[in-house]
Amino acid sequence: MNFQFENLQQLLAMDGHGPFVWTAVLVSLAVMLWLIIKPLADSEAAQKDVARDIARATNPNGEA
């Protein structure tokens, strides 16, 4: 099993197919990253809501 390309330029160019292959790779990674970040952000937001409800319940008038 050998590395199929002589250098970085060749790896990026892929005999003219580079733009297709690398666009597919970048878009896939971006979508997959979104599938991880989105639910983590939602969880974070939900926990903040709960924390605010708790704070309101313990201090209903909002006094410091």
Partner: protein
Amino acid sequence: MNWLTNWSPSWQWFHRLGSPRWFYQTTGRWLPWLSLLALALLSTGLVWGLGFAPQDAKQGNSFRIIYLHVPASFLALAGYYIMAIAGAIGLIWKMKLSYMVMKSAAPIGAALTFLALFTGAIWGKPTWGTYWVWDARVTSMLILLFLYLGVLALQYAFHSNEAGNRASAILALVGTVNIPIIYKSVDWWYTLHQPATIKLTSAPSMHSDMFQPLLVMILGFYCFYTVALFLFTRAEILRRERKSTWVKELVIGAQH
């Protein structure tokens, strides 16, 4: 009547599985390992497939898109089963958690179906000479995308959660007729799309130097899918159970 409640320990797992709290805690323990495994498999498979696998005799280097296209398509289809089965369990046993899994599977499935179509289009250009063709396989995958989006949209179309859940589950179940059509489309119709590379019943139609990294990528996508499904479901659990004591305790615990 004690025997009725104590009688069946084998059903305990089923009821526990239905508890959002149990799901949240258990998946919390699994997530670090599963994420690590997904990351390791995906990076290995990608480097192997893009840099080390030999190029295709006919398609040259454009064939390397297969290492994303096939795993994304696999999980777009497998994810539909998960969504439909979760919907069915919700309908039959009125299990809250099951509906949450169904709802979480919809955006992930839609994203992966989009990826399958997008990488396919990009692969089509150098191979078929066109980005898009109204071919049976491509069209039935587009219908899959609309089914996912439909399930997602129905969730927000009703005032009550319960009605939205039931409508989504019914659409998901009706939509399963599309799945065998997708699988069989390349055999039933004369199409541009090439026949399946991997079949359970026969040896893969590709050289093992090309096939091994594909297998690693498929396994990696399965792990990734599980991680994403857990994360989306956990977010949904927190949102839906925000009034419960255990979620409040969890948030207070995290603050200290």
